[in-house]
């Protein structure tokens, strides 16, 4: 009898731990390290209509308890993902969450329509918030009306539930969440990266060739917790939480805040075995907390409960 399984729109998760989009490629590399069947789900790298090379390098820079990335959505394009990546992933009994990105609304719609029909794609994650593409991306994520319109159009064509990935680079995250919920989102994933920059001490220039990039890692966890705490009280759809998770304690904190599952991004780089490790450690943590099922923890920070 599992204490970790979670049911979310489109997703039957054996456990609530999955790699975050962009930090796990399409799974092939990590499959050499451990059995991907252990994972609750896999959020694959953003897919765009056409293949993209992405930004020039350097694409990453380190920051205090975090990192910046400006990969620029490099990916083999819709066709490449449909032909190579998704079929390869079919050998695993793990739901795939396809991260969908684009420059124009039509791109999103087209990718969503096609990719949602792949047999192992159980949900879409609408990446309206990637700070690393100049056109479109960022505006989609900061203007509620635009985000809502995009959500609606994608919902109309998608064969699977649609999760919208929210950007933290906004003043009113609750307003944004409510806008996409109203537009039909089945769930939220949050948060994407904060916009940041580092400069090279010798040249004075930005370290990233793209100048700015997305800040991820433990540094941003308190921002994510705050946003999930605020949003989860104001929407009815579930939230998959992410941002700097590095321990089972962090997972518990995300659940308390209001997340129903979590994703690990940056920490896959520091410890490539982190996902299976956390999954293994979770039951003992639940014992400690005297909780029989992890879902009991969802929203404990704001739910009134006995004791």
């Amino acid at each position: 009898m599992s204490r970790l399984n979670i049911e979310l729109p489109g997703l039957s998760l054996k456990n609530p731990v999955m790699p975050a989009s962009g930090c796990f490629g399409f799974g092939q590399e990590f499959s050499q390290l451990y059995d991907l069947n252990k994972l609750g789900a896999i959020m694959i790298k953003a897919t765009t209509l056409e293949p993209r090379f992405g930004n020039p390098t350097p694409r990453v820079a380190e920051t205090a308890a975090g990192m910046l990335n400006a990969i620029g959505l490099q990916n083999p394009g819709l066709e490449g993902v449909l032909m190579n990546e998704l079929p390869w992933l079919e050998q695993f009994d793990v739901p795939i969450i396809a991260n969908v990105a684009g420059s124009e609304m039509d791109d999103y719609v087209e990718v969503a329509k096609e990719i949602s029909q792949a047999s192992n794609v159980r949900a879409l994650e609408l990446n309206i918030s990637c700070p690393n593409v100049k056109k479109g991306g960022i505006a989609f994520g900061t203007i509620p009306e635009v985000a809502a319109e995009l959500t609606k159009q994608v919902k109309d064509v998608s064969s699977v539930p649609v999760y919208v990935k929210l950007s933290p680079n906004v003043a009113d995250i609750v307003g944004m969440a409510q806008a996409v919920e109203e537009a039909g989102a089945d769930g939220l994933t949050m948060i994407n990266t904060l916009l940041g920059m580092r400069l090279d001490l010798k040249t004075g220039k930005p370290i990233l060739a793209n100048q700015s990039g997305g800040l991820s890692g433990p540094a941003i966890k308190p921002v994510a917790i705050r946003m999930i705490h605020d949003v989860s009280q104001k929407v009815k759809i579930p939230i998959i939480g992410m941002g700097g998770i590095e321990s089972v304690d962090d997972i518990i904190e995300y659940f308390y805040a209001g997340a129903s599952a979590i994703a690990v991004g940056t920490l896959n780089f520091s410890d490539p075995f982190i996902c299976p490790r956390l999954i293994e450690e979770l039951p003992r943590k639940l014992d400690e907390l005297q909780v029989s099922h992890i879902s009991e923890l969802v929203g404990r920070s704001w739910k009134t409960y006995a004791g």
């Binding site: 092939q28 090379f53 390098t57 350097p58 990192m67 990969i71 490099q74 780089f269 490539p272 075995f273």
Partner: protein, 260 residues
């Protein structure tokens, strides 16, 4: 097989100014079969710094299950690394990447090994293994200045060894390419590791020769999953217009990667 292992520090010493030679022990050594591969080291168990540091394997000792890296203490991570002492434990991911191909050279042939600064270390294990299979090696090592020169003697034991320093304080003044020209060195093929401008100069000069270049890029994962370390290629490889330094490289045939 890539492993993550808590390895034991056997020894660490400063062998030139800010240049450290660190020897580690663990079962991962069994997997190290190619010179030019690298390891990804966590310099601190905590979050500061967060990312691993890629460092080339400089020497492998299979009998003792030990390997050696040589690195420059420069920023936060490598300075922390330099503080490790005998019996400290280090979290190492490796071996990573594809190293220098040995089977492209035949007994009796001569390879020139060109290293710049902290690009020199992987050439040492390469020289060791080339010699085992009867390949002659010539070494051209470039450094900034006298104080940071290392392993000159060690390479000299394998064959002719030339040193260039940018400021002329040791060996020839100038760059490795100056040495190759000045000495009119003759070779069947070339291996190089060092800063991109050096690799670029070599690639332009010797693009039609047999040769292999080892590249550096800022990395995230080190295993091919994050797309941090990509480079454009001159011709598509396996239908892709890019390669990843960490998993496709760090060593590439001369001419393959677009260098600038």
């Amino acid at each position: 097989m890539i492993q993550q292992e808590i390895m034991r520090v056997i020894s660490q010493q400063e062998i030139a100014r800010n240049i450290y030679e660190l020897t580690l022990e663990g079962t991962m050594v069994k997997q190290m079969n190619q010179p030019g591969q690298f390891v990804h080291i966590r310099t601190n168990p905590g979050l500061d710094p967060l990312l691993r540091r890629p460092i080339s394997i400089a020497a492998i000792d299979q009998t003792k299950q030990q390997f050696t890296v040589i690195y420059r203490a420069e920023g936060k991570g490598t300075n922390l690394l330099a503080q490790q002492t005998e019996n400290s434990q280090l979290n190492v991911l490796g071996p990573l990447g594809n190293g220098f191909p040995l089977n492209e050279f035949h007994p009796g042939e001569t390879a020139i090994l060109v290293g710049g600064g902290i690009g020199v270390p992987p050439l040492y294990e390469l020289a060791t293994q080339l010699h085992k299979q009867g390949v002659k090696t010539i070494h051209v090592l470039g450094f900034q200045t006298k104080e940071v020169v290392f392993y000159e003697q060690e390479f000299a034991e394998f064959g002719e060894t030339f040193v260039a320093t940018v400021d002329g304080s040791h060996g020839t003044k100038g760059f490795v390419t100056d040495v190759i020209e000045k000495e009119q060195l003759d070779f069947d093929g070339l291996f190089a590791c060092g800063p991109t401008p050096m690799l670029n100069a070599l690639q332009q000069r010797y693009k039609d020769r047999k040769g292999f270049l080892s590249m550096e890029q800022r990395m995230g994962c080190g295993i091919g999953a994050c797309f941090a370390c990509v480079c454009h290629v001159n011709e598509p490889v396996n239908g892709k217009d890019y390669v990843k330094v960490c998993s496709d490289g760090p060593v590439f045939p001369i001419g393959r990667v677009v260098l600038t």
